[in-house]
C-alpha cells in the first residue's frame, strides 16, 4: 500500500473533483422529495375490468347493428361478463347468416353454441383481454401525463407501477384537490340520442326499455346550493365520443356572464359523423354526456355541418378550464381510484428541511468533535474523511438523480455513525498493535490490514439490509435505503482507502516515525 502514492492521490482527486462537478450548482443538484418541498404523491389503481367491459359493450352494440343491417332478427344481445356477451336470435333459422357475421368479429371467439334456440356467446380471447388491459394502463399514463403537462406542473413524475397502477408525483402543487380532480376524472365525453318514446316515469319505476338507460343531469341551485337531479331516458348506443375532438376551448356564456362553457370542435371524422347524426335526427334531442352525467340535451334543429358544439353547465372559469384540458388530453380508457395519497404543504416541507439539516449538522458536529478529542490527529484525519464521505454521498445522489427525502436525511445521519465506526475499528487495532510493542509504521500497516476483513463484513451486511429495504419498501423507506446504501459504499472508499492515504502522507514520508497521534 505504501507504493503507488501518485495513483492513489490521483483517484482521490478525481473522486473529489467529480463530486464537486455533480454538486454544482448546489441549489439545483439534488432532487428534494415531496416530503421536503411539498406536493402530491398519488397512486392510482386503473379499473381495467371496466375498460374491458366498455370494450365488450361497444362490440355488443356493433354486433347487434351488424346483424340488423343483414336483416337478421335479434331477440337479445347482452353482456354476460367483462369479456363476453350472449346473442340470442329471434329465430334459429338465421343461424348460419349470424355465424358469418360473427366470424367477422375476429377478436371475439364463439362459444356455448345452441343452434336449437339460436343462441351463442362471443368471448374475448384471454390474450386479447390481457393486451387490452395492458394498453388501457399505458394509455392512462399517457393521458394523465398530457393533462398534467397542460395543467402546468414543473417536473412531474408519472409512471406505471406494477400491473395496473399509476404513480404520480407533483412537486409544489398548491391546490391538491383541483389537481386530483383533473387527474382522476375519466372524462369520457359521449353523444347519445334521447329516447323520446319512452316514459321517464316508467323508467324511474324500473321499467327501462331494452337498449336504453336512465341517466341524470345534476343541477345545483345557485341560491339554495341544493342539488337537483333531472332524469333522462337515453339510447345506449354511442354515436360519437370525445375521441374525435380536435379542440376544446373555454368561452363565456353570452347569456350569463358568470357562467363559463367549453366549445368543442371535432376532427374530420368526427365532423362527418356529427353531420350525419344531426341530419338523420332533426327534431330529436341529442344528449351530451360526460362520465355518465348528462350536461345538456339540446334539440337538433337542422344538420350541423361545421363539427362544432358547446358544453354548457354551471362552470366556474377554473372548472371550465380544467374540463377543456381533460377533453383535449382525451378520456382515460378506464376509471381510476386513489389507492394512496400523500400531500405535503410547502410550509411543512420547509420545516422538515430545516429540522433535518439541524439534526444532520448537529450529529456530524458532535461525532467529529468526539473523534478529534479521542484520537487527536488521527481523529482529525477521520473527520476529513467524513467530509469527503458526505460530499461523495450527495454527489452520487445527484448523479443518479436520486431523491432526497426526510428518511433519506436520517439515512445520511446514520451513515455518519457507520463511517466513523470504520475508523474506530482501524484506530483501535493500531492502538492494540502499538501496545504489543510494534513500531508506529508496522502498527499502522497491521492495523489497517487486520481491520480490513471486519470492515468489509460489517459494510456488506448493512448494505444487504439496505438493498432488501429498497426492494421491499415504498417511497419513504426507499429514500432511506438509497442514502444508506450509497453512504456505506462511499464510506468503504473514504474511511478505509482515503484515510490510509492520509496516514501514509503524514507518517510514511518521514524517515523515522517516533509516535502516532492516535
Amino acid at each position: 500500500m505504501r507504493r503507488n502514492l501518485g495513483t492513489r492521490i490521483g483517484i482521490v482527486v478525481v473522486a473529489l473533483l467529480g463530486s464537486l462537478w455533480y454538486l454544482y450548482p448546489p441549489a439545483k443538484a439534488i432532487n428534494l422529495g415531496l416530503d421536503l418541498q411539498g406536493g402530491i404523491h398519488l397512486v392510482l389503481g386503473v379499473d381495467t375490468p371496466k375498460a374491458l367491459a366498455a370494450q365488450t359493450d361497444r362490440a355488443a352494440e356493433d354486433f347487434k347493428s351488424a346483424l340488423e343491417r343483414k336483416g337478421i332478427g335479434v331477440k337479445r344481445v347482452a353482456r354476460e361478463s367483462d369479456t363476453a356477451f350472449v346473442v340470442e336470435l329471434s329465430s334459429p333459422s338465421a343461424w348460419n347468416d349470424a355465424l358469418t357475421v360473427a366470424s367477422e368479429f375476429s377478436t371475439f371467439e364463439r362459444k356455448a353454441d345452441d343452434p336449437g334456440v339460436g343462441r351463442f356467446t362471443l368471448a374475448m380471447s384471454e390474450r386479447r383481454a390481457r393486451e387490452l388491459a395492458d394498453s388501457s394502463v399505458r394509455q392512462g399514463v399517457e393521458t394523465i401525463r398530457n393533462r398534467v403537462d397542460q395543467f402546468g406542473v414543473a417536473e412531474p413524475t408519472i409512471t406505471r407501477q406494477g400491473e395496473d397502477r399509476i404513480l404520480i408525483q407533483l412537486p409544489g402543487v398548491q391546490d391538491p384537490a383541483r389537481a386530483k380532480a383533473l387527474i382522476g376524472k375519466t372524462a369520457l365525453l359521449e353523444f347519445k340520442l334521447l329516447d323520446e318514446r319512452a316514459s321517464v316515469e316508467d323508467a324511474l319505476a324500473g321499467r327501462i326499455p331494452d337498449g336504453d338507460e336512465l341517466l341524470y343531469s345534476r343541477r345545483v341551485d345557485p341560491q339554495t346550493k341544493t342539488e337537483r337531479k333531472i332524469p333522462y331516458v337515453i339510447q345506449k348506443r354511442t354515436l360519437l365520443t370525445g375521441g374525435e375532438l380536435n379542440r376544446a376551448e373555454v368561452q363565456s356564456d353570452p347569456n350569463a356572464p358568470n357562467n363559463w362553457q367549453v366549445s368543442i370542435e371535432f376532427n374530420s371524422v368526427g365532423t362527418r359523423i356529427f353531420g350525419e347524426v344531426t341530419e338523420q335526427s332533426v327534431g330529436r334531442q341529442l344528449a351530451i354526456i360526460l362520465d355518465g352525467n348528462v350536461y345538456s340535451a339540446p334539440r337538433i334543429n337542422e344538420r350541423i355541418p361545421g363539427g362544432r358544439a358547446v358544453i354548457t353547465g354551471q362552470f366556474s372559469v377554473e372548472e371550465a378550464r380544467d374540463l377543456a384540458i381533460v377533453l383535449r388530453a382525451g378520456a382515460l380508457p378506464a376509471p381510476v381510484t386513489v389507492l394512496e395519497e400523500r400531500t405535503v404543504g410547502p410550509s411543512l416541507g420547509a420545516d422538515s428541511i430545516r429540522q433535518g439539516m439541524i439534526a444532520i449538522l448537529a450529529s456530524a458536529g458532535v461525532v467529529a468533535l468526539f473523534m478529534l478529542l479521542y484520537y487527536r490527529l488521527s481523529g482529525f484525519i477521520a473527520d476529513v474523511a467524513l467530509v469527503l464521505n458526505l460530499l461523495i454521498l450527495l454527489a452520487c445522489m445527484a448523479a443518479f438523480g436520486a431523491t432526497l427525502t426526510l428518511p433519506g436525511i436520517a439515512g445520511i445521519a446514520l451513515t455518519i455513525g457507520m463511517a466513523v465506526d470504520t475508523n474506530i475499528l482501524i484506530f483501535e487495532r493500531i492502538r492494540e498493535e502499538l501496545r504489543v510493542g510494534k513500531t508506529p509504521r508496522s502498527a499502522i500497516d497491521a492495523g489497517f490490514a487486520r481491520a480490513l476483513r471486519t470492515i468489509i463484513d460489517t459494510h456488506l451486511t448493512v448494505m444487504v439490509t439496505a438493498a432488501i429495504l429498497y426492494n421491499f419498501g415504498t417511497g419513504p423507506v426507499k429514500g432511506f435505503a438509497v442514502s444508506l446504501f450509497v453512504g456505506l459504499a462511499a464510506s468503504l472508499f473514504t474511511a478505509y482507502f482515503f484515510t490510509r492515504l492520509l496516514f501514509d502522507l503524514v507518517y510514511m514520508g518521514r524517515r523515522k516515525v517516533e509516535s502516532v497521534s492516535i
Partner: protein, 311 residues
C-alpha cells in the same frame, strides 16, 4: 491517549446464565406488552386518512373533537404533533373517498369558530389494498433481512454463528417492538426502516466479535484454551471498539431524537433502544449462545469418544 479500557479482561461469558435471565425477562416483558397493550399501527398499515393541521392559536382537543363529531367522525384519533398548535387527525377507512374526508374535516374545523384560522399541512390517504400490501411487505422485509444475515454469516463463518446472530437480532426486534408498545408509539414506515437498520447494526457488532474469534483461533496462544475463554477474549478485545461505535450511533440517534422534529422522533426512538439492546445482545445472546452450543456439541463428542474408548 484517552482510553476507555486498557486491556480489558472482564468475565462476560462466565456470567451468561444471568444474562439469559435478563434477556428472557425483557423479551417476555415486550411480548406481554405486545399481547396486552398491542402495537398501534400507523395508517400506512391499517389504511385510513391522516390530516395534519396547524392552528393559529393552540386549540383544545375537545373543541376539535366537537367539530369532527358534527360530521360523524368523532371516532377519529386526535393527537398533538410536536407543537401545541399542530394536530394530527386520523380517520379510519370509510366508504368516503380521501378527497371527501379531507374536505369534510376542513369544513368542520373551519366552522368551529373558536378554533380560528388553520392550515392543512399534510394529507395522507392509504387505501385498504395498499395498507395490506405494506403490512405484508413489512413482515417480508424483516424476514428477508434475517435470512440474508443468516446466509451471510453461515457462509463467512459457520451455521452456529449464523443462527445465534439471528436469534440475537430477533431478540433486539422484540425488545424494540416491546418498547414501542410500552410507550404507546406508532409502528409506521420510518419505524420499520429503523428496525431494519437495527438489524444491520446489531449484526455488525456480532460480526466484529466473530471475526476476532476466528483470527485468534489461528494463533498458537489459543491452543488448548476452552472455547468459552476464547470467546470471552474476543469480546474483550473488541470491547473498546464496540463501546465507542455504539456511543457514536447513540449520539446520532439522540440528536435525531432531539432535533429531527416530530416526524423523525419515533424513528430515532427505535434506533436509541436498538443501539443499547444491539450492543448487549452481541455478547450476551449471540456470543453466549455460540459458546453453549459449541460446549454442548463438544460434550457429546467427548462422551462419544469415552464410550468408544471403553469398548
Amino acid at each position: 491517549m484517552i482510553e476507555i479500557f486498557r486491556n480489558p479482561a472482564y468475565d462476560f461469558i462466565g456470567k451468561r446464565k444471568w444474562a439469559y435471565i435478563v434477556s428472557i425477562a425483557f423479551t417476555l416483558l415486550g411480548l406481554v406488552s405486545l399481547a396486552t397493550r398491542g402495537l398501534h399501527y400507523d395508517i400506512d398499515f391499517t389504511g385510513g386518512t391522516l390530516i395534519q393541521v396547524r392552528f393559529e392559536q393552540a386549540p383544545s382537543v375537545a373543541t376539535i373533537r366537537a367539530g369532527l363529531g358534527r360530521i360523524g367522525l368523532a371516532e377519529g384519533v386526535i393527537q398533538e404533533y410536536g407543537d401545541a398548535r399542530e394536530f394530527i387527525v386520523r380517520v379510519p377507512l370509510t366508504a368516503l373517498s380521501s378527497e371527501e374526508v379531507s374536505r369534510r374535516v376542513r369544513e368542520a374545523l373551519a366552522q368551529e369558530a373558536s378554533l380560528g384560522k388553520l392550515e392543512i399541512r399534510r394529507v395522507e390517504f392509504v387505501g385498504p389494498q395498499v395498507g395490506k400490501e405494506l403490512q405484508l411487505q413489512a413482515v417480508y422485509a424483516v424476514f428477508a433481512g434475517l435470512v440474508g444475515i443468516l446466509l451471510y454469516i453461515a457462509i463467512r463463518f459457520d451455521l452456529k454463528g449464523g443462527v445465534a446472530a439471528v436469534i440475537a437480532v430477533f431478540h433486539d426486534v422484540l425488545v424494540c417492538l416491546g418498547a414501542l408498545s410500552l410507550t404507546g408509539r406508532e409502528f409506521s414506515l420510518p419505524v420499520l426502516a429503523a428496525l431494519l437498520t437495527i438489524i444491520g447494526f446489531s449484526v455488525n457488532d456480532t460480526i466484529v466479535a466473530y471475526d476476532r474469534l476466528r483470527e485468534n483461533r489461528g494463533k498458537f496462544a489459543t491452543k488448548g484454551k476452552p472455547f468459552a475463554l476464547q470467546m470471552n477474549d474476543a469480546v474483550n478485545q473488541t470491547l473498546s471498539r464496540t463501546i465507542l461505535t455504539s456511543l457514536t450511533v447513540f449520539f446520532s440517534a439522540a440528536i435525531l431524537f432531539a432535533f429531527g422534529g416530530r416526524t423523525l422522533e419515533d424513528f430515532a426512538f427505535v434506533l436509541f433502544v436498538g443501539v443499547i439492546t444491539g450492543t448487549y445482545s452481541t455478547t450476551y445472546v449471540a456470543a453466549a449462545l455460540v459458546v453453549d452450543w459449541t460446549q454442548h456439541v463438544e460434550g457429546r463428542l467427548g462422551r462419544g469418544k469415552k464410550a468408544v474408548a471403553k469398548a
